[in-house]
């Protein structure tokens, strides 16, 4: 397995991504999107796709760049740093990883950036795939799907949706479907999400699904979903790690510049120690995030521990970073004119999406015998 530091190729990818995003998707671009009520900028996504980002996890035979999960994490980190919004996680990471294992012929569309996917798993306020209740009622050679999915990222803008539904009892009773969002009986309601991105509630009423729509095996939904879910969790952890770097850099800059009581506030030891502690947490989290990417690339079947570790750590560190960021900025950090609040809101959404801290910490504890 490669080391936990960036390889030369990864360093170049990171520099290129940073250069592109600083130029084309700085935080001010996120503000523009938000004020326009737009979850992401389709033009920006086209450019990302042209650079190969949409196909980062797709084999060259389907037109992908096949750079691997650590590379996908580096892209997610850089996007997190400037809060660049795009369908990257939903389509290029989650859907691509799922479909690749399932051997779908839609991979080339994903690699092109033309197929936008959403993942519809959760039905309650917490991530819990095994609690799926949505009905997949057998009918003829296929199924009829009925029920409600909530907190579906990119659910209002996606062309297709991966949806987990119950075709039988227990953990073996779940099936994953790949459904066109235009299909009859499927309706979406866009949420007014605090991070100004596209999250939606999807209502299924007797939506038709044929055998061709099944991803993987009937009853093997959790297994079919696992590669995509793990990849998404790792990439989301990377995004949060990048977000943390972004807000922290902003905060450190402020600490070095802002004067109160005739002193730079960064010279106050109480703030210094808190900043140093945050640095420690950031470094520790960065290791877990890099490690998750490496394990996904080299031992994907053993990646759950590494992925849950990364998501748990990244969630907590981002929370600390945004809270310290707003507090250390004082009043200005509370204003909407300033960017700090954007980081806080996205960190909260990232904390819940694909499993919160307790969800992943429990997985880590269980796998470690606690």
């Amino acid at each position: 397995m490669e080391r936990l530091v960036d390889t030369e190729d990864e360093g170049m990818l990171r520099d290129a991504a940073r250069g592109f995003l600083d130029e084309n998707a700085p935080v001010s671009a996120f503000r523009t999107n938000r004020d326009a009520g737009r979850a992401f900028d389709p033009g920006l996504w086209r450019e990302m796709a042209q650079m190969g980002w949409a196909g980062v996890l797709i084999g060259e035979d389907h037109g992908g760049a096949d750079m691997g999960h650590r590379a996908a994490g580096i892209l997610a980190e850089e996007m997190g740093r400037t809060l660049a919004a795009s369908p990257f996680l939903s389509s290029a990471v989650i859907a691509a990883s799922t479909m690749r294992v399932a051997g779908s012929d839609r991979l080339s569309q994903i690699a092109e950036g033309t197929a936008l996917y959403a993942l519809a798993v959760d039905e309650g306020p917490k991530h819990a795939p095994d609690l799926t209740a949505m009905e997949a009622r057998p009918e003829g050679n296929g199924f009829r799907l009925s029920g409600r999915k909530v907190f579906v990222a990119d659910g209002a803008s996606a062309d297709r949706v991966l949806v987990l539904a119950r075709s039988g009892e227990g953990e073996e009773g779940l099936t994953l479907f790949d459904i066109d969002t235009a299909r009859a009986g499927l309706a979406h309601t866009a949420a007014d999400s605090i991070d100004a991105r596209d999250f939606a509630t999807l209502d299924f009423e007797n939506v038709e699904a044929t055998g061709e729509d099944v991803v993987g095996e009937v009853g093997g939904g959790l297994a079919a979903l696992a590669p995509g879910l793990r990849a998404g969790q790792a990439a989301l952890a990377a995004e949060l790690s990048g977000l943390t770097a972004g807000i922290s850099a902003m905060t450190l800059g402020y600490l070095k510049e802002r004067k109160q009581f005739d002193r730079t506030i960064g010279s106050f030891q109480a703030l210094q120690h808190r900043a140093a502690h945050l640095f420690a947490e950031i470094e520790v989290t960065a290791s877990a995030v890099a490690h998750a990417g490496r394990v996904l690339d080299h031992e994907p079947e053993r990646a759950q521990l590494a992925v849950s570790l990364a998501k748990a750590r990244a969630t907590q560190t981002a929370k600390l970073a945004v809270m310290e960021g707003v507090q250390m900025h004082g009043g200005i950090g509370m204003t909407d004119d300033y960017d700090a609040g954007f980081f806080m809101k996205r960190a909260r959404v990232g904390a819940e999406w694909l499993g919160d801290y307790g969800h992943h910490a429990a997985i880590v504890a269980a796998m470690r015998g606690l």
Binding site: A191, Q260, D262, M334, D336
Partner: protein, 387 residues
């Protein structure tokens, strides 16, 4: 209890029973029911108007202020009885204002007879609404770093500069502000406490949008504003810092007591619902909620104990900074726990949970940051050395 006080209780209870409009009884206290008064004020109802006028006539908008300014002239004990009886009857406060809470006490302590006669009756009657102009972009925690300056132009001051975090500046008639009247004096000196009419040409305001949404806060700009010298400065010229310091205590108590919301309103269990249903068996959230509940209850008891200490004459002094610190940090924890318990559901603005969560982040900044409170405790209470 002395007979005199018992008589007072009976008398005031009867007065309330006769004068409090039924429509106002037991209303929740919020932006829709509070009466702020002022030139631009539009009463929410005839009942609100009646209640203000009746209370004012009886001196109950400012019960402890002297009768000559429209106050009630009550003693400390009488005021306590009044509050008890008002609470018992479910009566709303007839009038809220920064004039009552802040400018009034400052004028009573530092004002000239003319200033008192001019401003206090307007405040007690609810005819003039005041706002406070202390903070500036460069003067947050370091309030003494005031840059807004007032130049002496003979018969008037020429004021230029910018204030920030002026609550309701867009709705206020007048502002009491800290301005620099001596640019050569050391920081804490050279500042004066000045009264300015918001309708003076050159004064303008701009509302501040917070990360949690719309807010009562404004930026207030002074662009060559001419303030007549007569009665413009409260207290001594260049000693406005003394007035401000005196009032900071008032503000701190307001925020410390008010922001927690721990005794009043919904309990934590009401806010987060059935933990088993919502957050499952997650021990992390459960542990955090348990710890918060323990700390919240103990903090409520602490506010009670400090009140007991104050009332027993022992005094709490600078230790009140501890209450401000602890109460606001507790509220931030509370909001974090509500958000994580409610999960993805809470991430939609429409659910009404995100705004108070984000707003709570300001609790530990406004009215003196947590860091300033900890400095006060360590230096003034624990008497830790400065070098």
């Amino acid at each position: 209890m002395p007979d005199r006080l018992e008589d007072f209780r009976k008398e005031i209870a009867e007065w309330i029973a006769e004068n409090l409009p039924d429509a106002l009884r037991g209303q929740p206290r919020n932006e829709d029911t509070i009466c702020w008064g002022g030139r631009k004020w539009e009463f929410r109802s005839q009942a609100q108007k009646d209640w203000l006028e009746r209370c004012h006539a009886r001196g109950l908008t400012c019960p402890r202020w002297p009768v000559e300014y429209g106050g009630g002239g009550l003693s400390r004990n009488e005021e306590k009885i009044l509050r008890d009886e008002m609470d018992r009857a479910g009566a709303p406060s007839p009038l809220d204002s920064f004039g009552i809470w802040m400018l009034g006490p400052a004028l009573l302590q530092f004002g000239t007879p003319e200033q008192k006669a001019e401003h206090l009756p307007e405040i007690t009657a609810g005819r003039i609404r005041w706002c406070q102009g202390y903070s500036e972009p460069g003067a947050g925690s370091d309030l003494a770093n005031v840059q807004t300056r007032a130049e002496d132009m003979g018969d008037h001051w020429l004021v230029n500069g910018q204030k920030i975090w002026t609550s309701y500046a867009d709705k206020a008639d007048k502002i009491f502000a800290l301005v620099r009247t001596d640019r050569d004096a050391p920081k804490h000196l050279g500042i004066s406490f000045m009264l300015i009419d918001m309708e003076t040409p050159g004064v303008s305001t701009r509302p501040i949008r917070l990360i949690s949404g719309a807010s009562p806060f404004c930026e207030t700009f002074f662009d060559n504003v001419k303030v007549p010298k007569e009665g413009a400065i409260v207290g001594e010229m260049n000693r406005g810092w003394d007035v401000a310091k005196y009032l900071l205590t008032h503000e701190r108590e307001m925020i410390g007591g008010g922001s927690g919301g721990l005794t009043s309103g919904a309990t934590l269990s009401e806010m987060i619902g059935d933990m088993d249903m919502v957050a499952g068996a997650d021990p992390v959230i459960r542990a955090q909620a348990m710890e918060l509940e323990v700390d919240s209850l103990a903090f409520c008891l602490t506010m009670e104990r400090y009140k007991d200490m104050a009332e027993s004459g022992a005094g709490v002094g600078h230790a009140s900074a501890m209450l401000k610190y602890y109460g606001t940090e507790l509220n931030k924890r509370r909001q974090e726990i509500i958000m994580s318990t409610r999960g993805s559901e809470a991430l939609d603005w429409g659910e009404g949970l995100a705004a108070p969560w984000l707003r709570s982040k300001a609790n530990s900044i406004e009215g003196g940051t947590s860091e300033v409170m900890l400095d006060i405790v360590s230096k003034r209470v624990l008497e830790l050395p400065s070098k």
